[in-house]
Amino acid sequence: MLAMEYRGPKRVRAVQKPMPEIKHPQDAIVRVLRACICGSDLHLYNGNIPDTRVGSTFGHEFVGEIVEIGADVTKVKVGDRVIVPFNIACGECHFCRQGMFGNCQESNTESTAVGAIFGYSHTAGGFNGGQAEYARVPYANVGPVIIPDDMDLDDAVLLTDVVPTGYQGAEMAGIQTGDTVVVFGAGPIGIMAARCAWLFGAGRVIIIDKEEYRLEFARNYSYCEAYNFEEIGDPVVFIKKITDWLGADCVIDAVGAEAAGNALQTITGRKLLLQAGSATALHWAINSVKKGGIVSIVGVYGPTDNLIPIGNAMNKGLTIRGNQTSVKRLLPRLIEHVQNGIINPKGLITHRMPLEEVADGYRMFSDKLDNCIKTVLMPPTANQ
């Protein structure tokens, strides 16, 4: 089968690989119908996540059709079209029982710092991802959710990560009616977090980035204020100024390790890898939130350390909340929102490319070329 293959930092290609096999009675094999390149794939692409082995296939955002099931799979059957949450969860462990499907104890041998994620290095369990024609899906009784008949596959594929992660970013921010919410990062997750902040009753939503085309997109898609941090001076002072000098009630970091805006963070975090990525957005989040406010982290960082003003967080009495998204927990509600026209996931898609051109897709998304917001990869077998 055709699959994306990682060859080293900033080098990927499409190659023929062996078909995935059933390894566990609860496994299923899906024929991938849509796969996306995610902003967090760029951390792998840039070589920032330890134990990303050459030969791996990325891709944690995919939907597909079940073509084979293990002996114990009862909840889905061959022929079902399913949304595959990006995290792999057993549904029964200490964490899954609390609805923390992103923190499953029974799916990642190689690290306890993170749950298992499709196509996201051996640090996240060593599973191949869905940027391929076929993928192995463990715990098929737990993760996959059948795509409603009336749902577009383009909407469905964004329910695997982007929509739930944006939504959980807003949820974790503990937004109360009328709150001012600042979102750092106008990538797909930040745009979705800004859109979802309204669902929790925000009174004002502000998004900060440096890419003008993304800010313009966010203004139209998320109905929010949007500012370019290269034009506003010190973003923390700017936010204080526009919030009556108190700071925002809630701040969402939707950037993570690839943040720009601070030379020291960029050099130590992204170039020299002395930190687990550049923590500029988180730094700004802590300093621009109100005393007693809440910082919600959905931006992804590596597993080592980052330079952040933790002393300020303590002195300001902040609540800092972060997690990998519990996609399975949120899907029923989010499917309703999509069906009721409250959220329009496919509105984020700007590019569609054949899987054969995966290297071009990564380059385009990574360098933000051609006003790229979200790229969907189409495997050759998707139209069969």
Binding site: G47, F127, G174, A202, T304
Partner: protein, 177 residues
């Protein structure tokens, strides 16, 4: 400054879905279990069916066992594999775990190129880096980058060849003397 607030309705309640998921009880603190009404934890011997371990799987020392399912692609191999095996002897709490892993990733990259060459495949680095997109959408940046690399390479070649020439002429002079 531009009026960036133009797309925010004067009354946010006009936005479709506004406040639909508002939850005044959303207290973002752990544990979630209070909200999820979870009963007792599963007993430690109550585990799902275990995926057979037929290949080498490196295990974090912060857990007692191999998880019930695990990924099987790309088992540790070569020099990078030796480094990874060493790294996994230390907990995730230690740099001795993560930093060698990053080193192993870079070694793995070189091993990957050698493996390609061994199999008679010369990797097309330009294609793998998606240079076509750069050429199409960022031509000036592409040309600048290419010119910089060419200049640095040419400079390095000139530098090393002149050093080599100096060494050779010094040797010759010594021999003649």
């Amino acid at each position: 400054m531009k009026d960036n607030t133009v797309n925010t309705p004067v009354d946010p309640k006009q936005i479709k879905g506004w406040g639909i998921d508002a939850d005044p009880k959303n207290d973002p603190t752990y544990p979630m279990r209070d909200r999820m009404n979870v009963g007792e934890d599963p007993k430690s011997d109550e585990r799902p069916y275990l995926q057979p371990v037929n290949e080498e799987v490196l295990k974090s020392i912060e857990r007692p066992n191999v998880s019930a399912v695990f990924g099987t692609p790309e088992p540790p191999r070569g020099l990078s594999g030796i480094i990874r095996r060493q790294a996994y002897k230390y907990s995730e709490n230690q740099y001795k775990h993560w930093l060698p892993m990053i080193l192993a990733d870079r070694v793995d990259m070189i091993e990957g190129v050698l493996a390609d060459l061994t199999h008679g495949h010369v990797p097309n680095i330009f294609a793998e880096r998606g240079a076509k997109m750069d050429w199409k959408y960022n031509r000036s940046g592409f040309i600048t980058r290419l010119a910089t690399i060419s200049l640095l390479t040419a400079g390095a070649i000139v530098l090393f060849s002149s050093k080599g020439k100096n060494k050779r002429s010094k040797k010759r002079r010594r021999y003649q003397a």
